[in-house]
Symmetry: C2
Subunit: 312 residues, 2 copies
């Protein structure tokens, strides 16, 4: 069975849409704790403008204060050349660039057409050169909430254009939880056939309850890298009340139960997940932090032993 | 692709542990609505004593008042001969009997050892004869919260004993959400090899977020019958705050998106699911009722069309 690698996105993808600013100290403490849990990668923060994403306005300070653990890569979201300069200055291991495969979603989210996004990101890739790894996250690969299903060929076309630019990896994002397992299996196969030399990461949302089923389908199709968010933090503006990102600890718990090596210290990760509701001030969607692992057994209720003896 | 059949358990498995009694009129109206949604089977109620399960004390009245739709089977839970007599009197199409494959869980839940449960259920099966179909739900097949994993051979042993009694079907229950997809695939294969002539139904819980991943694994292994609960109602006393039964409409939505015929009118089912929180007085775990189907698209935000034109 292949080793499965996790990239933890809670402090970027989760915290960026929290209603309350998570204090810098708490961010640093959480990232330092996550660094001890065995992640392959942690998406620490975003070098966007403080006006665009005020919740991550402390990007430099967070990157400067976290304790880097050897073997863990620290990646940051970067929207443009200005962000890339800040990210390189902060010694990020990887810059994660983002654009949508849906024209309408790119216009709605990044306020420009895809071609303009691509040109800007190509400039970033050229600027970075060999100073850091570059990953590109392609949004809405399994469907756009405004356009509907995005054809697989359209995803492959953008993947190809970025592969030509020399990126190390691609993240195939189900931005609003529209993927289903059969579609995931087809996408995984097509990408592995064409881009076997790239780091291929899949990013799922649980908006319609299919998150871990999609992860299973991707693992079955040979994908070994996944994004996850502690507690399942990180919502979806199109679906009030619905879940966002797949929950890291639930995904890891499932894979470990199936026998996969994820490199993660699950009890330590669950301890961190159980502190999350207090940190953000509300309940979070993750299930295993509430229910315990399948191997965490309960004592029999009172009277069962007497009952057992009485029938012996 | 095989047709997939759903058994809706919300009015039995869901309502039995609701803190507030769901009025008989509301139960009848909901079942009559579910009967129009295309279910293969509906588990209407339970013929247990009103003292044991007060929330289902109106079993006779509900069975007497619902409008039976041809093609839908109406099944009821029956714990013993007394319950079976009441169920037959109420003209149930199927009697669903239950015991645990875990000795400790059977003692805790049914207050007797498994052998005594089996003997009692064998009496029920003999009593029913050809007057109705009999299904046996085997609890804790994928793990007991007190004993841990239940060996697959133990599940097969109990399945075999009931098959010998001439039951029509077996439901393999993950009572507290401990199953993982690899275990489900193995169990499905073993059961299909040995009991291909029986109706095999799988019953999953989403307690640890694995519900739909397990359903996917079961479908991949050739299982075509599933229990589901509207809204995901029906909790687990061992995991406060965690989800219970898999959510019917989320499961059906996933399978339909993958191209499976479930026979279900999903828009109608979602309309029923959206009325559920008001009926029970609290939020329910189901996701698709909140987020909408993947094919329910959203208008582009204000300004996107102007933006698109400005770059044209």
């Amino acid at each position: 069975m292949p080793r499965i690698f996790f990239n933890e996105v809670v402090t970027r993808d989760g915290f960026q849409i929290e209603p309350q600013f998570v204090p810098t100290d708490a961010k640093v403490a959480l990232i330092d704790e996550l660094s001890q849990c065995g992640y392959a990668k942690i998406e620490v923060t975003s070098f966007t403008s403080a006006k665009a994403i005020p919740m991550l306005r402390d990007a430099e300070e967070v990157m400067g204060r976290i304790v880097r653990v050897p073997g863990v890569e620290y990646t940051v979201l970067v929207p443009n050349v200005r962000g890339a300069e800040r990210a390189l200055e902060s010694r990020a291991d990887e810059l994660n660039l983002v654009m949508s495969t849906s024209e309408t979603h790119n216009l709605a989210n990044l306020r420009m057409p895809r071609e303009k996004s691509f040109a800007g990101l190509a400039d970033v890739i050229a600027l970075v050169g060999k100073r850091a790894a570059v990953n590109v996250s392609l949004s809405t690969c399994f469907g756009c909430p405004m356009e509907g299903e995005v054809p697989q060929d359209e995803v492959l076309r953008w993947a190809h254009r970025f592969a030509e630019q020399g990126v190390r990896g691609l993240t195939i994002c189900d931005t609003t939880g529209m993927a289903h397992p059969a579609q995931v299996a087809r996408m995984a196969q097509a990408l592995r056939e064409r881009f076997g030399g790239l780091q291929l990461t899949f990013h799922f949302h649980n908006t319609r309850g299919m998150g871990l089923a999609n992860l299973l389908a991707a693992v079955q199709a040979g994908i070994t890298r996944f994004d996850g968010s502690l507690g399942g933090l990180g919502g979806c503006p199109y679906a009030p009340g619905a879940s966002g990102n797949i929950c890291s600890e639930d995904a890891i718990h499932m894979l470990q139960a199936m026998g996969y090596d994820t490199g993660i210290d699950l009890p330590r990760l669950l301890a961190a997940a159980r502190r999350l509701p207090e940190l953000v001030g509300h309940a979070v969607p993750g299930q295993v932090a509430k229910a315990g692992r399948t191997c965490d057994l309960h004592p029999a209720p009172a009277g069962v032993d007497e009952l057992r003896r009485s029938f012996a």
